[in-house]
């Protein structure tokens, strides 16, 4: 039992740092309060190093997933932290600095904000390392519970609170759904361990169709986790929440819960197994495959079509985040393929690589929004949100403008940039799994996505800035680290395509099919009695 601790050093580091930050953020001394961000950053870097060097191989079907997932979480987490700087308590700290208010611990939210952020990243790492349904449930909840509060306190406006409440209620609905799914999976297999579930389900599958309770359980779990990745039946909150939260928090929402959801889906579906009898077209068992297929198609299409119709940049990015989830679902449907060492045939490796691509590219676009602000009618600072705010940004503020242009093109997947290398394996994996219709829909959707990404590029790069006098123009805010996050994201979009990170994703995407093949050589087991109602 003690060996579980050895798999948890990065999480323990982050947890300890979160506890420290929570208390440090309440100090009456402003210098001590300012320590929150450095402590978080050091903890994230340390956790990343620990994750890469100490994470052991998992006993579940995807042995290298924990190492890749945890390192990814720490890496993108550190970038996101640069973006989050300055979000909590902005007005209040201003008042305190100018002597208009005395600092009272009960009114400050700085410590909580950063501590919750670390808790959320801890949850994400635990999701990547999960090998048990109970663990997975707790990890998913640890990822999302802090984000509800972070949304609500991200600005002082009613809008953030509305977004937080909406996010919380739909999140609770999603959690209840996948919890019920987990309960049914446990009921059908008698265990919550991934390995035992995989064994029981595969034994059932060799003997005939899967038990109805198991199928219902997996489908409910997938639907519930669909909330975390903003997939279609559970996507309603996305645009409102991203718009209501401040831009840095929206950037975090676009990566952290989504990555957690995909790690959870990878874990669950690798228990079910991509081994429908019609080899070589391997696939998930019947009803689960159909549910995921329609989910993927609807998610891509709804996300892209609605994104075209928006005028708020945050809403465009929110709907595009829905669409990106749809693309990644294609990789899950394609499955691990038959060639063990091929990156281009392995849909799971494609998903894992795409998470990195999306996480890095997304930060750039949100960083630009987070950097631009104006004083609103009520005297509070408000972020750039309308697409008109970006007009002529390249000539007004070249650095921010080019960050926007390159990250939009990166998200679109223009060939030399990182986004292209992320999307390509999804196509090839889809083709090699034989699901041509799905690949065609994926291609059409990428074309629709070009509309709104090129619109963002065009407005920023080609249009002339507004003539003075038309409304209050947006100005760069006072946070250099946010610009740094944007620059880092752009550097990632350009540079990471030259570093063979695909090898790591490919290794993490290896799905160990050996137990299944061994089992099918044995004589078929006696059929499991069907439930009689």
């Amino acid at each position: 039992m003690i060996e579980k601790i050895h798999a948890l050093w990065p999480e323990i580091t982050l947890f300890a740092a979160a506890c420290v930050v929570m208390v440090v953020g309440l100090s009456r001394n402003v210098q001590v309060r300012r320590l929150c961000v450095p402590v978080c950053f050091i903890a994230l870097v340390a956790a990343g190093v620990l994750a890469w060097f100490t994470t052991p191989m998992s006993a579940a079907a995807m042995a290298h997933l924990p190492q890749y997932g945890k390192t990814l979480a720490a890496f993108v987490g550190a970038l996101l932290l640069l973006l989050l700087v300055g979000t909590p308590d902005r007005e209040y700290e201003d008042d305190v600095a100018r002597g208009r208010a005395a600092f009272e611990p009960i009114r400050g939210t700085r410590g909580e904000f950063y501590a919750f952020y670390l808790f959320s990243i801890t949850g994400l790492m635990l999701c990547a390392g999960a090998d048990d349904l109970i663990w997975l449930f707790l990890a998913l909840e640890l990822t999302s519970l802090p984000t509800y509060i972070m949304v609500a306190i991200s600005t002082g406006r009613n809008r953030s609170m509305e977004a937080g409440v909406k996010y919380f209620f739909l999140g609770a609905l999603g959690a209840a759904t996948f919890l019920f799914g987990f309960a049914l999976i446990y009921g059908a297999t008698g265990s919550t361990k991934y390995t035992a579930i995989a064994e029981a389900l595969q034994a059932q599958y060799q003997a005939g169709p899967l038990n109805a309770i198991a199928v219902a359980g997996v489908v409910l779990a997938v639907l519930g986790i669909g909330f975390k990745i903003a997939a279609v039946p559970m996507h309603f909150y996305t645009a409102d929440v991203y718009q209501g939260a401040s831009a840095p928090v929206s950037a975090m929402l676009a990566f952290v819960p989504k990555a957690a959801g995909f790690f959870a889906l990878l874990g669950l579906l690798s228990c079910v197994g991509w081994f429908r009898a019609t080899e070589p077209n391997t696939s998930l068992p019947e009803p689960i495959h159909e549910v995921l297929w329609f989910m993927a198609v609807l998610t891509m299409t709804v996300g892209n079509v609605l994104a075209v119709m928006q005028n708020s940049v945050k809403r465009i990015l929110a709907y595009s985040s829905i669409a990106h989830s749809g693309y990644m679902l294609v990789g899950l449907i394609a499955g691990p393929g038959l060639q063990k060492d091929s990156f281009t045939h392995n849909g799971l490796a494609a998903v894992l690589f795409y998470l990195l691509v999306y996480g890095v590219s997304n930060i750039g676009a949100f960083a630009v929004l987070a950097c631009l602000e104006r004083r609103g009618r009520d005297g509070q600072m408000e972020e750039a949100d309308d697409i008109a705010d970006l007009r002529g940004l390249c000539s007004r503020r070249p650095l921010l403008g080019w960050i926007m242009v390159i990250s939009s093109l990166g998200l679109l997947g223009l060939p030399p940039l990182l986004g292209f290398w992320g999307k390509m394996p999804l196509f090839t994996a889809g083709v090699s799994s034989g699901d041509y219709l799905l690949v065609v829909i994926l291609g059409l959707n990428s074309a629709i996505a070009a509309f709104y990404y090129l619109r963002l590029v065009g407005v920023t790069l080609l249009e002339a800035p507004d003539a003075p006098g038309r409304g209050v123009p947006v100005q760069p805010g006072p946070f250099p680290t946010r610009v740094l996050a944007g620059v880092a994201s752009v550097a990632g979009i350009i540079m990471l395509s030259f570093i063979p990170l695909t090898n790591q994703a490919q290794r993490a995407g290896i799905y160990n099919r050996d137990p299944i093949i061994k089992r099918s050589a044995e004589p078929a087991q006696p059929a499991v009695p069907k439930p009689e109602v």
Binding site: I149, M161, G164, Y186, T192, I213, Q310
Partner: protein, 119 residues
Amino acid sequence: MTALFTATLAQGELPNVMSGVTLYHFLFTSAAMFVIGLIGFLTRRNLIIMFLCTELMFQAAGIALIAFSRFWMNHTGETFVIFVLTVAAAEAAMALALVVLLFRRKETLDSSAWREMKG
């Protein structure tokens, strides 16, 4: 492997009163609770009632877990329920905090009073 879904839950060990109660009764109760919670969540507009509906769905899963735990004769499901209770308590604390916050701003708990964002 125990014959799945044919044995009664009681298996001759519980007192006689329970001998007619099978796994199905528990699963039916739990599914009914889940559906009632879901319908309530989708139709009601009061934030507190909506939260209670999600609690109902959580507890429905709890009942299913306990019944399955008894059925499989292991403690896994019961352990799971303890963790579910913890998470439910954390969510309750958070829900109440958010609802108090909203009520102080708008003096109402009607979820349709909060429609600032559209599009």
